[in-house]
């Protein structure tokens, strides 16, 4: 009886995207933070939202979370986030920053409070996550290190049976060990195909192998939106010796840079129509890092066409 009652809703959720936006726009005075974004995020994806400071990433996430007003159409799990934030938060979790846990709160109080207000919180699960850390139940948040606060917040969030998790710079200021642990436990202990994760970070190397989808955002617009499979088949990085550089340039790279006497070219195979094998003959070919593609795409946006053919 219970299952029957629950399943139509679940099926409906599978059919509709988790996030759907059309013409999403937000301005602060004369500054345009979001310039009419169209967005569709399907269930089970892990989307990385990458962009320079002030590109509009946080504004987009805040709109999705019901933290800021916006123009245009936006639906998150079928709800209007601005007017239904409290209802939406039954199915959405977010970590907006590393330092939003109230500093006066004790770990045990945080567990009590979330268990008290959130019907989908599994306290046992959170206790299990905390047992793997050095966090004491009686400690106040202000007594914990930055990394431990992030662990605590993640333990709380992962114990909530939510459909969408939004992470806005969740690992800012953490050392590499904590950052690695953070994403490892997110993938191993939390993620499954019924959950959707959106993450923004400047430490893109951390999430390259975590994402299923990638989105670059710049000046309030989406400048790149692709799956990671597409990313891997579309972009190629070739490291060429000086004598091969001229040949490489002939294939119209979208970006080039010098490293230790060699030139590294970045190719967009979709645009120049050259196949991998011919480029492989020019030098060592490999999939670029997100960071390198980001620099290439953003550099191009920032300086117009800097001698780079398009």
């Amino acid at each position: 009886m219970t299952l029957e009652a629950a399943s139509p809703g679940a099926m409906q959720a599978r059919a509709t995207p988790v996030v759907e936006a059309r013409g999403l726009r937000k301005t602060f005075g004369k500054t345009v933070a979001l310039d009419g974004i169209d967005l569709r995020i399907a269930e089970g994806r892990i989307l990385g939202l990458i962009g320079p400071n002030g590109a509009g990433k946080s504004t987009a996430l805040n709109a999705i979370l019901g933290l800021t007003e916006y123009q245009g159409a936006l639906r998150v799990l079928g709800r209007d986030p601005w007017n239904e934030r409290d209802q939406l938060m039954l199915d959405v979790c977010f970590i907006a920053d590393v330092a939003v846990m109230p500093r006066w709160m004790r770990v045990s109080q945080a567990l009590d409070y979330v268990a008290g207000v959130h019907p989908r919180f599994d306290r046992g699960k959170a206790e299990g996550f905390l047992a793997k850390t050095a966090i004491q139940r009686g400690s106040r948040v202000r007594e914990l290190s930055k990394g431990m606060v992030a662990q605590l917040h993640l333990a709380l969030v992962m114990a909530i049976d939510a459909k969408l998790l939004v992470l806005d710079e969740p690992t800012l200021g953490l050392d590499i060990l904590y950052r690695k642990q953070f994403y490892d436990s997110l993938l191993n202990d939390y993620y499954d195909l019924s959950r959707t994760i959106i993450v923004t970070t400047h430490q893109v190397e951390d999430i390259q192998n975590v994402l299923t989808d990638l989105m670059f955002i710049h000046h309030g617009r989406i400048v790149l939106n692709c799956s990671m499979e597409e990313f891997e088949s579309r972009y190629l990085e070739v490291m060429a010796l000086p004598e091969q550089a001229a040949t490489a340039r002939g294939f119209k790279p979208i970006h080039e840079r010098q490293v230790l006497g060699r030139t590294i070219f970045l190719f967009d195979l979709k645009n120049n129509g050259v196949d991998r094998q011919r480029l492989g003959a020019v030098g060592d070919a490999r999939t670029p890092s997100i960071a390198d593609l980001f620099v290439a795409v953003m550099g191009e946006k920032a300086s117009g066409a800097q001698g780079v053919a398009r």
């Binding site: 009886m1 219970t2 009652a5 629950a6 979370l65 019901g66 933290l67 800021t68 007003e69 601005w82 934030r85 409290d86 209802q87 939406l88 938060m89 039954l90 979790c93 977010f94 970590i95 907006a96 920053d97 330092a99 939003v100 846990m101 109230p102 500093r103 006066w104 709160m105 004790r106 109080q109 009590d112 409070y113 979330v114 008290g116 207000v117 959130h118 019907p119 917040h153």
Partner: protein, 316 residues
């Protein structure tokens, strides 16, 4: 019994009980109020500290209690009750004043601290509505503090009564007058009545402070105090009248007393504020005074504005 119930024995009811729990709307409110008590421990520590101060004063005063009681015994009977009430009334006055001050400073910080320490982003990540949040914060000065003040005062008065009895029994003054003349129950009833009346009368004050705490980016105290003050000063400078001063300062802070109590005794003398007999209570006059209802409407409007405002609020 009827046929339908025997045909479908209890099954639908059981199924309903097992189906996914519907969240009671009071549960987030309950936990949000507890959250306030965790964060603002002054809500109970300050009244407890005031209570401790009272006990210290009480212990010292017990030294001269037998002498006082002998003096009171020589007064006329009507005055004896009032004089004996003093110690018990002082506990109430001390606690009411403490509760009022805690309520003022709590309200001024209520919707400000969560923005200052950025934790508003944590609270907003949970399924707790802005209405629940503001109601939980408003309930501290409007419900929680009065209850704490009442409970601590009752305990203090019982301590005072037991200790006084003990001391008097060891001296020749005797405890009989204390037991027969002290109107302890009436004092406590008066305290309950006063707290209720005050909280209803002061509701717009707390409402204003909570609204300002959610509105101002900084210096909440100045934003709360200066605009009303400017209104009073401006009025006086322009018209040489004190209409706003009387309304905002005098009437809104102290006006409940003249409405909720008949402060003139039947014999025409002013009533001693230490002990106001139940016969002098005028709840009908209080409830029918426009100032009460206008104040409650203003309080409701300010709290509603604070709820709407919180949707737009972010860390500062």
């Amino acid at each position: 019994m009827n046929t339908s119930s025997s045909g479908m024995p209890d099954f639908p009811l059981e199924a309903r009980a097992v189906s996914p729990a519907v969240v009671s709307p009071t549960r987030p409110l309950y936990w949000s109020v507890r959250r306030e008590l965790w964060e603002n421990r002054s809500i109970y520590i300050a009244p407890l500290a005031a209570g401790a101060l009272y006990v210290v004063g009480l212990l010292i005063s017990l030294i001269h209690l037998p002498r006082d009681v002998r003096e009171i015994a020589m007064m006329e009977p009507a005055q004896q009750s009032t004089m004996l009430s003093h110690y018990y009334a002082h506990a109430g006055m001390l606690l009411v004043l403490t509760g009022f001050l805690v309520g003022i400073f709590y309200s001024l910080d209520a919707l400000h601290s969560e923005r200052r320490d950025r934790s508003i982003l944590f609270w907003k990540s949970l399924p707790v509505s802005d209405l629940t949040t503001v109601l939980s914060k408003a309930s501290i000065p409007l419900v929680v503090l009065p209850v704490i003040v009442f409970a601590i005062t009752i305990v203090l008065q019982l301590i005072a009564f037991v200790l006084s009895t003990g001391v008097l029994l060891t001296t020749d003054a005797g405890a009989s007058m204390l037991w027969t003349k002290l109107p302890l129950f009436q004092i406590q009833l008066g305290l309950l009545y006063s707290l209720t009346v005050m909280v209803l009368w002061h509701a717009p004050v707390y409402g204003w402070l909570i609204f300002v705490s959610g509105w101002a980016r900084r210096a909440t105290f100045l934003w709360a105090v200066l605009p009303p003050l400017a209104l009073c000063v401006g009025e006086y400078l322009s018209f040489h009248t004190t209409y706003f001063t009387d309304l905002l300062l005098k009437d809104r802070l102290f006006g409940f007393a003249g409405r909720a109590f008949n402060l003139v005794a039947p014999d025409g003398t002013p009533v001693d504020a230490h002990f106001i007999p139940v016969a002098q209570f005028t709840p009908g006059r209080f409830l029918s005074s426009p100032g009460l209802w206008v104040g409650l409407i203003v309080a409701g409007a300010l709290l509603f504005a604070a709820v709407r405002l919180r949707r737009y609020r972010e860390p500062i």
